[in-house]
Amino acid sequence: MEFLLQPLTILTFFPLVGVLVLLFIPSDKKNALRWTALITSLLTFCISLWVLTLFRESNPDLQLVAKYDWITVAGWNIQYSLGVDGLSILLVLLTSFLTPISILSMWTAVEDRVKDFLLFFLLLEVGMMGVFLAQDLFLFYIFWEFTLVPMYFLIGIWGGPRRIYAAVKFFLYTMAGSILMLLAILWLGIYGGTFSVPDLIAQHNIPANVQMWLFIAFAAAFAIKVPMWPLHSWLPDAHVEAPTAGSVILAGVLLKMGTYGFLRFNIPLFPQATVQAAPWIALLATIGIIYGAAVSYAQSDIKKLVAYSSVSHLGFVMLGLFALNAQGIEGAILQMINHGISTGALFLLVGMVYEQTHTREFKVYGGLWKVMPIYGTVMLIASLSSMGLPGLNGFVGEFTILLGAFGSQAIGNPLFAGISALGVIMAAVYILYMFQKMFLGPEGSIVEEVKKHGHALRDLNWREIATITPLLVFMFWIGLYPAPFFNLMAPAVQKLVSALVIP
């Protein structure tokens, strides 16, 4: 019983309660289904806030650890082990925060097979929570692979016209990376006699020549998920085809699983290889930043633009992580959250107008501000936040990352940070370009087009405003007063960095 009362166990598996209830509600009672899922996810969010109150921010170690023997027979040493520390607490909160928002966003957008959609969504939440909380490699791998399955269905069943292609591509790409990680996990398990991550880190004895191989195997899984250039090609397809709620979760949380993986596993488990690899990762990250920004500018589909901008933004996160100093890593963690909020908001907003117009091509839009003033305002704030305007959240993250990368001993060359800074400018170009095409200038053809069908474009309704407002609050909060967020992660980051030996 004690096992079931652990706060982190409750947090991870609470959505399953919702799954059970959903199973007993008939498929045609769509509103009952939606409310059940929404309430479940809101309660999960409350549980995560409860976890936050139990969390001691001055403690750099894993907290609220729930550790039980799971499979400890026949030479196996697998534990059910959950724990949270400064590296993961914000991501846990982000997950439980974005899930109800995503569920709200599908309220009217998904009318077909609502029950299945919500089932998969809640299962996905279990998987994501597990990924951020698991402290045993076997358990982690199970959660990691498990998130694939519901996301695959979300894209494949409720996606756009090329949904099957996108779903299978997403699945195979991600799995390709994780099977290499599986081999590395097995190697570690055999070598260290345990799959427990803290124990493996404490052993501190992985031979230097093997470290690089293991680092690469883990990095393969995470780099595809992030996605780092040049492994990003699944992302635009997945995003364009996914339903809005799927895109929000994909950009908001699933991609962070990749960057989190580097932070939780690669850096502390293989410190020597990490230091060696840092300049190379920084190089790839920098290419990703510039490439993602340049390709974003070339898009004519709004969702594709936001998708490629993710490649650019996550390049910043990777650059910050592998600066391997406190500033860089703290900035990177904050930027993970920022990206989840800003890009999540952008995908939500695109979804809101798409629901009315059924097109995402820029060229038919124009002059929307006059027609939908609230929508325009909200979109402007989200765009500015995404491009890193001071006063909003994106700026704080990117600035801290660049600061860290400039002074990074591990990267060794301020050039990377210098080039990456150009990415911030380029972000302004493509984001404002999009904003201008959609909202300013003469009225686009879509306004007439929609009128022909007998109803004008409407502005945001109350549900939509309720969906987006929490995100706006955080954009300003992090932008104006980020200290509480930094305080949560600082001790854990300090501990992580101090374990590294940078020549």
Binding site: V73, A74, F146, G156, A167, L186
Partner: protein, 480 residues
């Protein structure tokens, strides 16, 4: 003269043999159209034998009939698995043979005799007994494969299986003869002492290789797999399901027994061959499965591929430290495979209509919407075959790759995971068709059939969270 304790070593086997013979007679009095009684009796016999097998858990390892058979924890494990496979085979067949008007009492007796042959192989401590078991398992299967006569595909399947089976039996016999020539004995213990006393002769190696080839046919390892797709496709589907699980389990049991307990001294010669066999089987099986549009052929190639995964467990057979781990991993994977296999074939049976309709993968379109439980179960089986959570297939692969890596064969493990990725492509196609394409599928709903695939799905998921008992049992399964 055999003593009574001799019979106690093969107690479940004896019971089942007597039962099968009696059933042959009883069936004469079961009126046509009520052959369900025979099915029930056959399942009952299997269940009784299973009960006795389970009572043998923890029994000290003993030999019987002057070292011809052995009862050890390994054989008990395999016997239990075989008997469960037999029960699942009966329950899959019951409705199917009625529906396809193949209902004849011999079906169940033949199945029982085949199980007896398989169990004999698992308990054999002498090459002659292994051969006896091999024939006893095969001959009923030849008949069963052709059971849908006069359907030409079924006749073709029976004949093909018979010809290649006879051919492979020839390899085994010749191999046994050469081994006998080299060591002067057919007893596994005798071969062990003779082979490890130094003089490792070329004759012995060739003999062992021939035995390997013979069993390679039986378990459908590449390049001895050519018969598999045709036979699996042509045979009545419940026969295929039983064949895919049972014959593989027995074949692998015998292989492990012969190589693990009698011929570890040949490891330096045989291991490279096994590495190549396992690698090729995984690669070829998975690559050819991609091109299939018929579900039976796809699953046939998938079973070839899985033979490759299980073969990996044999690769470190000469390494004394790793052997127990790899035996346990192999056994565990066989369990995972057996349940997944019966479940997925169960779904195929539910979808199959008369005259071979309903067997194209495209016929599965729309299943997710119309029959959510069935589609969910099939999804579980597909995930398990890929090796993804939350299924037994993942735990099985984890265990298997761990054993292979403990033996130092990282390259082989790499092939294993990469081919798993390839396999995801074609297994997912089934899922895509079920959930993401529209169609109007019709499903046959029969209580025993539904129970079989339902139970298989539940076991596949639940055991993946609580594999401890099975781990424990598999890891104590030692060869005597």
């Amino acid at each position: 003269m055999p003593q009574s304790q001799d019979f106690s070593t093969i107690l479940p086997l004896t019971i089942l043999t007597v039962w099968a013979c009696v059933l042959l007679l009883v069936d004469l009095f079961v009126p046509k159209g009520r052959k369900g009684i025979t099915a029930l009796l056959a399942a009952l016999g299997l269940a009784v034998a299973l009960g006795f097998t389970l009572s043998q858990i923890g029994h000290d390892a003993v030999t019987g009939f002057s070292n011809m058979v052995v009862l050890d924890s390994f054989s008990t494990f395999i016997n239990a698995l075989l008997l469960i496979s037999g029960i699942l085979g009966v329950s899959l067949a019951y409705g199917y043979v009625r529906r396809m008007s193949l209902e004849r009492g011999e079906y169940y007796t033949l199945l029982l005799f085949s199980v007896i042959g398989m169990m004999l192989m698992a308990q054999a401590a002498d090459l002659i007994i292994i051969f006896l078991g091999l024939e006893l398992l095969s001959i009923p299967l030849y008949v069963l494969a052709a059971f849908a006569r006069p359907k030409s595909e079924s006749e073709e399947a029976g004949l093909k299986y018979f010809l290649l089976g006879a051919f492979s039996a020839g390899f085994v016999v010749y191999g046994i003869a050469l081994v006998f020539g080299a060591t002067g004995t057919t007893s596994l213990a005798g071969i062990l002492s003779s082979a490890s006393s130094g003089t490792s002769s070329l004759l012995l190696t060739i003999g062992a290789a021939l035995i390997l080839v013979g069993f390679g046919f039986k378990v459908a390892a590449v390049p001895f797999h050519m018969w598999t797709p045709d036979v699996y496709q042509g045979s009545p589907t419940p026969v295929t399901a039983f064949m895919a699980a049972g014959a593989k389990i027995a074949g692998f049991a015998a292989l492990l027994r012969v190589f693990g307990s009698a011929l570890p001294s040949l490891a330096s010669d045989i291991t490279p061959i096994l590495v190549v066999l396992a690698g090729l089987t995984m690669i070829v099986g998975n690559l050819l499965a991609i091109a299939q549009t018929d579900i039976k052929r796809m699953l046939a190639y998938s079973s070839i591929a899985h033979a490759g995964y299980i073969l990996m467990a044999f690769v470190p057979f000469g390494n004394k430290d790793v052997l127990p781990v790899s035996i346990a991993a192999g056994l565990f994977y066989l369990v995972a495979y057996a349940f997944t296999n019966f479940g997925s074939w169960g779904i195929v049976i539910a979808m199959e209509k008369a005259e071979g309709k309903g067997l194209a993968i495209s016929d599965y379109a729309g299943l997710g919407r119309k029959y959510p439980a069935l589609a969910a179960a099939m999804t579980v089986f597909m995930l398990s075959l890929i090796g993804l959570p939350p299924t037994l297939g993942l735990v099985g692969k984890f265990y298997l790759f761990r054993a292979v890596m403990s033996g130092g064969f990282v390259g082989l493990a790499l092939i294993g995971v990469l081919t798993s990725l390839i396999s995801a492509y074609y297994y997912l196609r089934v899922v895509v068709t079920m959930y993401m394409r529209d169609g109007e599928p019709e499903v046959v709903s029969e209580p025993w059939l539904n129970l079989t695939w339902g139970a298989a799905a539940v076991v596949t998921v639940v055991l993946s969270f609580f594999p401890q008992v099975l781990f424990m049992w598999a890891s104590t399964a030692f060869l005597k």
